[in-house]
Amino acid sequence: MADKQVMKRAKYKSSVKDPGVAGVLKLNIERFVFMPNDPKASTKLNVEFRMITGHKFTKEGSSKQALLNLTQEQGGNYIFEFDSFADRDVCREFVAAAIAFHSEAGKATTENSAALVNSEQLSRAETERRIKLLQENSELQRLHRQFVFGGILTDAEFWATRKKLLDQNDNRRPKQRVALKNEMWTVKPLSDGQSNRVTFNLTPEIIHQIFAEKPAVRQAYLSFVPNKMTEKEFWTKYSRAEYLHSTKNVVAAAAEAAEDEELAVFLKRDDMLANEARRKIRRVDPTVDMEADEGDDYIHLPDHGLFQNETKDVLESQYEPYRRSFSQDLNQHAAVVLQGRLVDVELGDPRSVAEALSRTKQAEVSDEISNRNLEKELSDRISRIAEIEDLQGPRDPAVAPLSIKDPRDYFDSQQANAVKALGDAGSGAKPLKSSVSPREAYGSLTDLVSDIRVMGLSEPIMNPEVALKVLNGLTQSISSTKFHLGKNPRESVLDSLPKVTKEELLHHWTSVQELLKHFWSSYPITTKYLYTKVTRLKDAMSQVYPKLQEIKESVQSDFRHQVSLLVHPMLQALDAAFAHYDADVQKRSAKSGERFNGFG
């Protein structure tokens, strides 16, 4: 593997701007060597990959030069410019593999070196993911080494069957979204106790929550903020309104609102919310009978049993819009929290948050408008539920009746086959073809019974030696089944084999599986490419075949039987593949022969 190497014409540069020294870059798994064209030049390089920690490269397609930048452990880096991007990519992949190889500590031999050289352009992330998978899974690594380096499969073919594995690996880090805090933002004014100043704390998170819960505030923000007032003014006003609410002084609130129309926006009941609530009520399943359900739960308790010292006194109608109920707030908050975070905007800018929230709301509304089926469905449901049972015709059962036919048909049919089956069943250990008349058979049976009646039981019933033999036989078989089958059902034959044999068997099993998977998946052969692939696979499989035989012969005689039992299915599977291959080749040659004749 160490002899795999890549050689490309390149320029070595000390920096990107540097014109560079033309020369030849030679890469192998251990090191890269740069030889300048000018033998007198001093910029010879001979660096081990062990020292290299990473690589960077310029994007293809841009007008830039094809650069490859290797970062050294100690901080320095080597920049190479290539004649073409194709050259660069070959080197880049080689380097990626080499670095991965060396970053795997301890494993000095082998590894995925140059095989990544293929025509397919892989993204760097993809390559890294593959390398990571190989590192994590030693079995996969073995297979990869065996088949991809052995030239039986190309890298792309190998990975094509493992797309799922790659995807899984990718999905392993899901992006978790943080939900809204399940905490109502209640204004807790921080008063210093000396002056009459009241301080509110607002964070982007809280602003987001306010926007989500109070569409009217959001609306006001969008319409007021840049033009009418500054952001600070806006929030001061809002806080003032909240403060008024918290004092529960409805009359005072109304009075303030009358003076300041902007403040009134915050103090009045949220019209948008009310609209939305009405819309939702329209969509409630009409079959829900609130009255009937009333007794079932505790909704008839005032305020759900929560104690809230809300002003209960009757107010004049002009103050009505300034009242807010706690349960309204609670419901709105709950709805928003359950809905979760709708927008994925950076929280820093309140304006963008507000806009994003408005957009999602509008989208929701328009969705509903377009969804006219909903109303139809609702009315369907009403008519279904509200139907009067007495007036309905008898409904057909939804199931097809099960008709068990006369069971005699079934038993009679056996008679015809009895004779045939008899031949099959009887021919077990010894074929019993003797045809006996019933009279004879029954006669002998009654004779035997009467024998015993006359003679009595034989004394002794049996030979003590036979009894001992039976007893020994039973004990032996019981202890042997106990030994073989074990108490542990997971204990398999494999575990009883020597470790080397076991590993070898398992390895062959996986490799045979891999080969067969590729083999069968390339049928039917439609392109020349598949044809060569199948031929390659077939050759590889025929190499495995004698190896399996070798294993069988190499093990000790104690295990030979078990090993051959294990190897047998593998051989069978391979045989099936060979047979299929041969048949296919024959068919092809026959077909081409025909065609030839047709032309001739």
């Binding site: 008709s403 079934y410 019933p438 029954y442």
Partner: protein, 292 residues
């Protein structure tokens, strides 16, 4: 009838249902290796020893004939001990006569099948009767002393008996005397948690019976009894009564067929034709190149 609540529950009193294969064609075919009289004397000694193990033990013998089945012995019938064997043998003779008179065929090839399903059902019925009446609630078990090959035609009936035995927690022990293993009894013992045994030395039958099948169910928990190395789970198809490895199953009633049917012969469901061309043949397709 004794009310169930006042019954005597014990863990060491057994009700042993012994099913004796009396298929004359089978016994005729093994005359040289194991004569029916030798078999009987072994079994009688075994039954006596069961009765000696516990005073309250009960033994019922059912003859599994070629054309019929019948109870031939019940130890709970009051009778003097000395006449037990005499009475049973007499009943057995009568049974054989009756069984012969029911037969219609002139000649039978090979050993034929005995009515295992019938005697299993009778044994289960008897157990249910004991459960619902009488002063005792013994631990029941069924012991099949069977020689005839499996009658594939009885597949459904036998399986139904097995499952009802499993439901009433009655283990079915089997001692196979014939030349081949019995798939029915293997499954029966496996499903119901009984012991399946095929004695190698038929001369020592009594020893096998006494060693393996004499212990009551409670003591079995402490013993290592022979375990079969494998169970033949193959089913018989309903159309030709062949034992098959792979087949078609009716999606409605779970009937088994060896070939694709247009309509289920048991429940009459009509099967779709949609994928028969493709999905039913790949197995064959794969096999043909093997043969080639």
């Amino acid at each position: 009838m004794t009310p169930v609540s006042s019954k005597l529950y014990t863990d060491d009193v057994s009700l042993l249902m012994v099913l004796i294969d009396t298929n004359p064609f089978f016994w005729n075919s093994v005359k040289s290796t194991l004569a029916f009289s030798t078999f009987l004397s072994n079994v009688l000694a075994f039954l006596n020893s069961i009765l000696l193990l516990n005073q309250l033990n009960q033994v019922v013998v059912i003859a599994t004939g070629y054309n019929s089945c019948d109870y031939i012995f019940d130890s709970s019938d009051s009778q003097s001990q000395t006449q037990r064997v005499e009475q049973m043998l007499q009943k057995l003779e009568e049974f054989v006569d009756k069984d012969e008179s029911l037969g219609r065929e002139d000649s039978v090839d090979g050993p034929g099948f005995s009515l295992l399903s019938g005697s299993l059902s009778m044994a289960l019925c008897y157990i249910q009767r004991v459960f619902r009446s009488g002063p005792l609630h013994p631990q029941p078990r069924i012991l099949c002393l069977h020689g005839s090959p499996d009658g594939p035609g009885q597949y459904v009936a036998v399986m139904n008996s097995i499952f009802s035995a499993q439901r009433s927690m009655v283990p079915i022990d089997s001692c196979v005397l014939g030349a081949q293993h019995s798939a029915f009894l293997q499954q029966a013992s496996y499903i119901t948690g009984g012991v399946y045994l095929k004695p190698q030395l038929l001369d020592g039958l009594f020893q096998y019976l006494a060693t393996v099948f004499a212990t009551d169910l409670h003591s079995r928990a402490f013993l290592q009894l022979p375990k079969p190395a494998g169970v033949d789970f193959r089913a018989s198809c309903f159309c030709h009564k062949n034992t098959i490895d792979m087949g078609y199953i009716c999606s409605v009633c779970l009937s088994i067929f060896c070939k694709h049917q247009k309509k289920c012969s048991t429940c009459g469901s009509v099967f779709g034709q949609a994928q028969t061309q493709d999905s039913s043949t790949p197995d064959r397709k794969r096999k043909t190149p093997l043969d080639a």
